[in-house]
Amino acid sequence: LSGLRGLGLAVLALCCLSAVAGESAASLEFVLGESIEGQSPGTSAAWQPFAAGQSLGFQDAPAWLRLPPKPDALGQGSRYLLVKPRHLGDVQVFTMDNPTVPLLEAGTMRPATDSAVGYGYTVLLSEAEVASGVLVRVQSDTILQPSVELLTPHDLLRENFRFNLSFGLAFSATLFFLFWALATAISTPSTLLVVWVARLVVYLATLFVHLGLVHPWLDGETLPSQATVHVFFALGFITLAQFFDYLLLRELWLGRLRWVFLAVVSTFAVAKPLAWWLEGASAALQLNNHSIVATLLLGLVLVPLARPARLSAFRLTRFGVGGYFLIQAVPIVALIFAGAIYAAGFGRILELAFINYSIVPAGYITFLLFRRQRLIASERAAYEKAAQQRDLQLAAEQEKRKEVGDLLDMLVHEVRTPLATLRMAAQVNRLSPDLVQRVITRINDAVGQAYRADELEQGQTEPSAVRLELRPLLEACAGDQDIELVIRGEAPPVMANSNVLRIVLTNLFSNASKYRSGNTSVIAELGSTESRALLVISNRAAREVPVNPSRLFDKYYRGPEAVGTRGTGLGLYIVRRLCEQMQGEVSLQVDEHWVRVTLKLPRADSVAQGWHW
């Protein structure tokens, strides 16, 4: 927070310099008091120099401002007299020659009058009127800081341009903040955001009232007068802003200290209408100004005492909230200084403060909310990503469980069915050593296949491949299965692991043996392509059955062709997985009554030396 203090002091010094460096208008003089009965204020001896925009504080009595006669104005054309600000309660303009008949009567306590500008009151003075000198009587419940200027039409246009620019900036910026906050409040509602939206809406209304844009409709009869509405919005906006400040402080971890702030804000919120009712608008507005200073300074004291709130939805830091209070407090403090010394730049600073009190904090708060939204968006994206990962993990887990369930089903079936056979055989006195041996073999085969499938699932493979001749391996495997094998053609040596290839061939011959017609021979045809050795194992099918080749290699799949034969549904699945591991391929075709399984394995002569799979 030390950096923040330094920044605050620098801005404060800048504002004070700006205030005291305001242009002086030595030609303008003022005197306080009602129109001196029986004598013209133009002849009063109490005139004092007055700088344009100088603050006279809260005054019950009116102030008289005098533009001394200008004989040299003759021949220079007419001039516009511009009296600012718009929220002065009563404005009257006289010539010094005739201080009883006003040239202009305007102000918030009077009906709306035509004016060349929106932020003040104008009257067109002739050369003679300018030359004779001008008297301006102003009175207001608000702080009295009148500005009286004589402008050429060109100067007036330039003033208008500056006003339109600053008003357009304030209006469009606030509108932008409002729409953004509204969208955010709708998407992620919270008390802070709702009050923020309300504050921006009330600020816009206050801006319109402050500049007299609604003055023509406020006649003081069917609707309240401009003065009443102006005071109401001045009090209302500041009170709402202070409650918003409390909600902002609540985002920090202040403990019971935040109740102190709320108590101060609430006290002012009650006291201001009471003061308006009992003492009048001037007292209420003075209290309003005091409340601004009090709450901003209290906020600046409380923020360093706070701890960062870990659970805050907005993730506001002490630096952020402290900065918010500082950028509002500094111009106010500067105003106090400037007001105390009646500096010429008071009015300018006040205008700056008015804009600053709304636009700069608004921009800052919008930035904080934007940062929070971005944080929420990134967190949401992270959560969604994590959720997707969890879904994937869950799906994988469920798939794994299903695999285990399928494996268990297969094993239970392949164990209990032979046991049922044994039990039934014993009941009908058909139990024989051969039957017992078949049952043992069947159970053993099922368990072996399950282990083999599990090894494949876990990625356990034989470590290396060697150069192998297919023909001797075919003959050996066919002999194990006790089938008559006819080998045709020749194939080059393949690069494979002998144990793995033996498992593949054993499974294929086992299938051929189970599904062949009678004791017909199984045919193995050898061949080759440029990079592969080909092996086609064919057998004549026992019967014509519909075959779905795309599903035959699925785990546990036993199609209609498996009717009447035993099996785990794992054989062709194991063959496919092992062939893939050997960089080979396997496919199955059914042609009339013939079933052909085609194996494509890498040729040893086309595989680089030292290659492992």
């Binding site: 089903d409 239970v412 079936h413 164990v415 209990r416 069915t417 046991l419 049922a420 056979t421 044994l422 039990r423 039934m424 055989a425 009941q427 009908v428 058909r430 039957l435 078949r438 036993r558 199609g559 209609p560 062709e561 498996a562 009717v563 009447g564 034969t565 035993r566």
Partner: protein, 145 residues
């Protein structure tokens, strides 16, 4: 004599079961799959079904049997004895669920008990079919007959 169809893909078990039931006085026929059941010449009144059949599985077979033979008896012979399997077996229409390895005596007692009540059950079903709203105007035979 009650005709029993044994739908079991294991040749040895099917044949041994058939022999056992024949010895106990049933007229038993064995088929290896649901698809082969249509080849049985006599309409069985009791079916012994293995759930783990190649092709059409046992659950589907029982559901179809229940549609065409509402009063036929269905006994499940299955290696699966998870609660979910047994529950599903009864849901699709099984009357009795036996887990392999089945005690042949139990198998015989259950089949015999069902057989004794079979005709009474069928008569009740046919009477209920005729008594349903508009049943008197129905022509033809009860689906179970």
């Amino acid at each position: 004599v009650t005709t029993v169809a044994i739908i079991e893909d294991d040749d040895e078990l099917r044949e041994l079961t058939r022999q056992f039931l024949c010895a106990e006085g049933f007229h038993a026929v064995g088929v290896a799959s649901a698809e082969e059941l249509s080849e049985v010449a006599v309409l069985p009144s009791l079916y012994i079904v293995d759930l783990n059949l190649p092709g059409t599985d046992g659950y589907t077979l029982i559901r179809r049997l229940r549609e065409v033979c509402p009063t036929a008896g269905v006994v499940v012979f299955s290696a699966r004895d998870r609660t979910v399997d047994v529950t599903r077996g009864y849901e699709v229409g099984a009357d009795i669920y036996l887990t392999k390895p089945v005690d042949p005596t139990i198998c015989w007692r259950r089949s015999n008990a069902w057989s004794k009540n079979g005709w009474a059950r069928r008569l009740r079903h046919c009477a209920a079919w005729r008594a349903q709203p508009g049943g008197s105007s129905l022509t033809g035979r009860c689906p179970c007959a």
